[in-house]
């Protein structure tokens, strides 16, 4: 039976979206393994790379709090 509840949207993934999903998984996998990536054009990936870089930082010697 293929009926779908009228209140529930039918979600279909096209081939393009599947490829996007797999490509993104490869990029995220590389990020998670801290493998070097070319400068990402995707702003989301760039932000995540910046967060990883910051979180992995060995030590922070500069305080961001302005002295009063």
């Amino acid at each position: 039976m293929n009926a779908v509840h009228p209140g529930r949207p039918v979600r279909r993934y096209g081939r393009g979206e599947q490829i996007d999903t797999l490509a993104e998984d490869l990029i995220l996998g590389a990020l998670s393994r801290r493998e070097p990536l070319p400068v990402p054009g995707d702003p989301a990936v760039r932000l995540l790379a910046a967060l990883i870089d910051d979180v992995d930082q060995r030590r922070s010697s500069v305080s961001m709090t302005p002295s009063t």
């Binding site: 797999l22 393994r33 702003p43 967060l51 910051d54 030590r59 010697s61």
Partner: protein, 208 residues
């Protein structure tokens, strides 16, 4: 019990590789030995999990006064809690990491609830030159990371948790799925949606 300091996260790269590439059955064996009180197994297990926990806490809690002291303290609490709970741990078929990140998630939530901007001890001034990034690079990195953290905080809870576990803590799609109770395919679809949201928010902010 190894101490969690900022320096100890250091070779995060190795830590991530070690943790994610470990054969699951080896980790299960290691966990089993640790539960029985084998000191070497406990140290090895914590050695594998600790860098991921520290990164998770840092990503969730961020910096206070430019430092990761609070996040690192919470990570230390997670490690102590895991160690305390080890004798009572029973393998129910789910990976040990899901047990650890369950504890971490609660500890972070507690820390967020009781977040008090307390005094942060500063390090002694170094006597020699600092080989780390200069002030300008540090500030740029700090601003970008804070931007990422701010946008992540606007994602739905489950998507934020997924992205932090998958990307920052360094878990694979399979491991992330095990922690969150999702199939690897569902993880990939959810991370695709999370990235799309992040991208849209970032682009909107760059236009505004």
């Amino acid at each position: 019990m190894p101490n969690v300091t900022e320096g100890s996260v250091a070779d995060a790269k190795n830590g991530v590789r070690l943790a994610t590439r470990s054969d699951e059955s080896d980790l299960r064996e290691l966990t089993s030995l640790a539960v029985q009180g084998d000191r070497g197994a406990i140290e090895s297990l914590l050695g594998q999990l600790r860098p991921m926990v520290v990164r998770y806490c840092r990503a969730r809690l961020g910096r206070v006064s430019g430092q990761y002291h609070i996040a690192d303290d919470v990570a230390q609490e997670v490690c102590i809690a895991v160690l305390s709970a080890l004798p009572r741990y029973r393998d129910m078929g789910r990976p040990f990491a899901s047990f650890v990140f369950g504890i971490a998630s609660h500890k972070v939530a507690d820390a967020l609830r009781s977040s008090v901007r307390c005094a942060v001890p500063t390090q002694d001034l170094p006597d020699g030159p600092d080989d780390g990034p200069g002030p300008e690079e540090t500030v740029v990195r700090y601003i970008e990371a804070e931007h990422a953290r701010r946008l992540l905080s606007r994602l739905p809870d489950n998507q934020r948790e997924l992205i932090i576990l998958r990307v920052v803590s360094g878990l694979s799609a399979e491991e992330t799925g095990n922690v969150l109770g999702m199939s690897p395919g569902a993880v990939r679809v959810a991370q695709h949606r999370a990235l799309a949201r992040l991208r849209a928010m970032a682009e909107l902010e760059s236009i505004a």
